[in-house]
């Protein structure tokens, strides 16, 4: 029987109503992992600050790597475990360092994650958050060279995956904290991990460190961020079993090519991302399931880009559609055609 490979996309920093907050895409991933033989998705979906959920048939793939994979430049090589190194932004204060060092030891001794070292950047990274004219979040790193040099030192010492903890400007975005805005740090988080993955071609993910925890009763969708002063545990859990990235010319038959993707599941109004477009431009593209219930700040539907899509109202309906595909069920309508 053919394995069912599903790519779940919920882009970060675009205000996705489901998955745009604090790990609130995890229930969707759990749902789809229940029917897919292999689910591929990205840290924005699976990270919930202190919370995460182990899914043995799910591949945790950083966004830049996901785009390269979808372009068939890279393949994915599943592993049993990775040796994880952690980069600390020199801007972290003493309390933040202690919280994150405790998180590392907790991951090592409580979960058995192989975190072997940490390394502090030689200067503060200068993380800045911004909002674009369309309302999506983005940001920049003032000292990208310092980030990459710290990551290089960890790789030279044996790291197979890199977690990055940076000091981020205070998260005072009231709409986001109320569970109805755009994650202000999502855009710069993507830039940080993309830089490391582009430079070193190994799994990476980012955990922000804020100056003060959320004090008030949190909105439900962001409640995971109020549980403690570190968001590192979910990143360490994800990286511990993240697949490696292999150039297509070095791939083995056991590695996973994006050509194996049967179905992409995406918010219906957010279909303009690089990875999705690369796959849909293939001669035999996967099925695109466009989910209406997960609205974002954008209005880039499949039809506006000339993409053929199967529209579904909800993730539950998407799951039913996947079950039907996997079982080979076709729901007939009308009478069978007669060919003369």
């Amino acid at each position: 029987m053919k394995a069912l490979t599903v790519l779940l996309l919920i882009p970060t920093g675009v205000g996705a109503q489901i998955g745009g907050y604090a790990g609130d895409g995890i229930p969707v991933a759990r749902l789809l992992a229940g029917v897919a033989d292999c689910l591929v998705t990205h840290p924005n979906v699976l990270n919930g600050a202190l919370l995460s959920w182990p899914l043995t048939n799910t591949l945790y793939v950083e966004g830049y790597a996901l785009d390269r994979w979808c372009a068939l430049d890279w393949w994915l090589r599943p592993v049993h475990r990775n040796r994880v190194g952690v980069v600390f932004d020199a801007a972290l204060d003493t309390d933040q360092r202690i919280h994150h060092l405790n998180a590392i030891e907790a991951a090592r001794y409580t979960l058995g994650v192989d975190v072997f070292a940490h390394c502090t950047t030689e200067v503060s990274l200068g993380i800045e958050e911004s909002t674009s004219s369309t309302g999506t979040s983005w940001g920049t790193v003032r000292e990208p060279g310092a980030l990459l040099r710290a990551a290089e030192r960890l790789v030279a010492a044996g790291a197979e995956a890199i977690a990055i903890v940076t000091r981020c400007p205070e998260g005072e975005d009231e709409a986001y904290l109320a569970g109805c805005g755009v994650d202000p740090v999502g855009g710069v988080e993507a830039v940080i991990s993309h830089l490391v993955v582009r430079h070193l071609r190994i799994p990476a993910a980012h955990a922000p460190a804020f100056d003060a925890p959320v004090a008030a009763l949190a909105a439900p969708r962001v409640a995971a961020e109020s549980l403690g002063p570190t968001f590192l545990p979910c990143v360490l859990a994800g990286l511990s079993r993240a697949p490696r990235y292999v150039p297509s010319g070095e791939a083995r038959s056991s590695d996973l090519s994006a050509a194996a993707v049967d179905v992409i599941v995406s918010p219906a109004d957010c279909c303009g991302g690089a990875g999705l477009l690369h796959l849909m431009n293939r001669p035999e593209p996967p099925v695109l399931l466009a989910v209406a219930e997960n609205t974002t700040r954008l209005d880039v539907t499949p039809e506006r880009l000339g993409l053929k899509a199967q529209h579904v109202r909800s993730y539950l309906e998407a799951c039913g559609w996947l079950v039907a595909l996997k079982q080979g069920v076709h729901f007939a309508s009308g009478r069978v055609a007669e060919i003369r």
Binding site: G272, L277, V300, L305
Partner: protein, 56 residues
């Protein structure tokens, strides 16, 4: 080395690969780290792109 935020607009040629057209438009600004089409009208109309690019 620095990371820039870029907004660009292209009129896609429906006969050509859209990703290639976007990446060619962004290449003049640097190497794209992340890009997405954030506004699109009907087919054949301009599309707007937001991107983070790495420049020397």
């Amino acid at each position: 080395m620095c990371v820039h935020y870029i907004e660009a607009e292209i009129v896609p040629n429906t006969e050509q690969d859209l990703c290639t057209q976007v990446e060619q438009a962004l290449a003049v600004h640097g190497e794209p780290l992340r890009w997405a089409i954030v506004e699109a009208g009907s087919l054949g109309e301009p599309v707007r792109i937001e991107a983070a690019v790495l420049a020397s």
